[in-house]
Symmetry: C2
Subunit: 338 residues, 2 copies
């Protein structure tokens, strides 16, 4: 920690600390000549202001928190990039917290924010989220929160999502058009809004094309790789296995491919596969994967931009700022009609 403070500068320059402080802030109360002297001295002594002192006094920290389930898949990686690039531009710092899909952890993290550690919060909830009291407590204590991707429907605030329902619909319809009669949908959690919306869209597509839907067509995966592997294996070994499959989250794509390799199932001849994904490797998979790609970077950046607006303007109404940024379908070989 640097031990030269505003006081050091004040003594060297024979002025008061107030003058130094104001000079560094380019206050109109200070003469040009004094400002110059102060700045020069600050430069020379490598003065760097103590963040905690200023945060304590100003009750602002120029820091935001990003709360995520995990950062292993490319969606969140890209989203972080988006968030960070806006934050850096605005001079904000970003704290990362991972919940590892654990609700209690998420609760503890949000509670900690009431200390005023951060000025605002960006969040994508865990799949396990049960209730949202902790989010409301946080809002009540005056800290704005913006959701992106995995949102809490119940909370009144800005939410940045992609067109999940439509994407589910598009996915379902695409497989139907490719000739699938029995389409499974891999969900990641029954309490997750994005998963449900995508599933709803998929069901609507089935309905619109007179394909009958069975409750077992929606397969609930978990945050447990081994569990998912056996679950999907069982699904694809069943007597009337699906001829089309939609992975609602990225990591399930790899699992599906591995199971198919293991069982000797040919994609797309035996089963057509498509997934929600941001992987750059989608085109070079075996076979190349048809994907619905979310605008991850843009969603992160948009969420951050809105949060900063709220931080800069006092009576900003966050909930009016919700945005839907559409995803795009890229058709590749994994759903080819052979």
């Amino acid at each position: 920690m640097s031990n030269i403070t505003i006081k050091t500068l004040a003594e060297k320059l024979q002025v008061s600390v107030a003058t130094v402080s104001k000079a560094l802030k380019d206050s109109h109360e200070i003469s040009g000549i004094t400002k110059q002297r102060v700045r020069k001295m600050a430069e020379e002594l490598h003065y760097v202001p103590n963040l905690y002192a200023s945060s304590l006094r100003r009750r602002k920290s120029k820091t935001i928190a990003v709360v995520l389930p995990e950062v292993a898949d490319s969606y969140f990686s890209l989203a972080i990039n988006g968030i960070e690039s806006i934050a850096q531009q605005k001079g904000y710092h970003v704290l990362i917290y991972l919940t590892h899909e654990n609700y209690l952890k998420q609760e503890a993290i949000l509670k900690d924010f009431q200390s005023g550690r951060v000025d605002g919060v960006l969040m994508s909830t865990t799949a396990e989220t049960v209730d949202h009291c902790h989010v409301q407590d946080l809002q009540a204590s005056g800290i704005p929160i913006v959701f992106f991707d995995r949102v809490c429907e119940e909370i009144e605030t800005a939410k940045i999502t992609t067109n999940d329902f439509e994407c589910g619909y598009i996915a379902g319809e695409h497989l139907i058009q490719q000739g699938c009669k029995k389409i499974a949908f891999l969900s990641i959690s029954s309490s997750l809004s994005i998963s449900n919306k995508r599933a709803d869209g998929y069901r609507q597509a089935l309905a619109d094309h007179q394909i009958k839907f069975k409750a077992t067509d929606i397969v609930n995966c978990k945050n447990d790789e081994a569990f998912n592997l056996t679950l999907i294996k069982k699904l694809l070994q069943s007597k009337n296995r699906p001829d089309g499959i939609i992975a609602s989250v990225e990591k399930l794509n790899t699992t599906i491919y591995l199971v198919c390799m293991d069982l000797g199932l040919n994609i797309p001849a035996d089963i057509k596969v498509m997934g929600f994904s941001n992987q750059v490797s989608a085109p070079i998979l075996n076979p190349s994967l048809t994907t619905i790609t979310q605008p991850a970077f843009e969603m992160g950046a948009a969420a951050a931009a809105i949060l900063f607006k709220a931080l800069e303007k006092p009576n900003f109404i966050l909930k009016k700022e919700s945005m839907i940024i559409p995803s795009v379908l890229t058709v590749r070989d994994s759903t080819k009609n052979v």
Copy 2:
């Protein structure tokens, strides 16, 4: 921001703020009965201590910074997971800063740390790093820094790396054993220690197997997708194109595959490909990719653990704690002998 402070508690309980503070810290100076009263009241009023006040006073922030080039590839994603899991365990908070491979940005970020914003720093340098004065300045101001993966050789501190030289050697040797005679090595920067070490290992492997090495066999890529694409395309279109290629960083794998698809080159018949990578999709690529996989999560966790040791013990000698965690070669179809 919560407006109930230690003072509120003190007034309600008719004791001094000092007593409350000590009681909450379980100080031996406070009687059991008083501690109970204080804790109960704190619980009731949802007291949460102001971080900035405490950081200012204690000159400790319980926060570390992680400085990375970017978080787009899976190496850094996994490393962040490793870091965060240890930090959460230790009650530390983690700030993320991305340099986007920009040296000036890195410099500015490190300079800011002199404010005492963080207690310690974990860093992987940008490929552009030219000198290290800013790192030394930071160290001089008493903030410990631990490098992982992309280290600065010149700085005396703990460095967590993988066995880059050996991996380069293993990669080169593997391709030689698979019958390659002309092996290209894609580097990401000539000023990056990991890139150079891997390249050195590769050259040693060539030398040990009496394969002649030309300077043009090492191809310097940049942090520019389009540039790399044309560069690699040119390489694979040349009259005597390589029959083996090693990608020293993950993102180049996709580029190589795309170029091969574009040029109609068959992997592994026309050219064998292997890469340094943590992609989970490696086994399902077309063809499945032979990889050298770095222990990303472990490296992040190890770096964090060492940093926390240094933060907890005063005269801890960081440089003695350097570690090398070996990577593993996984042979797949992209280097198969056909």
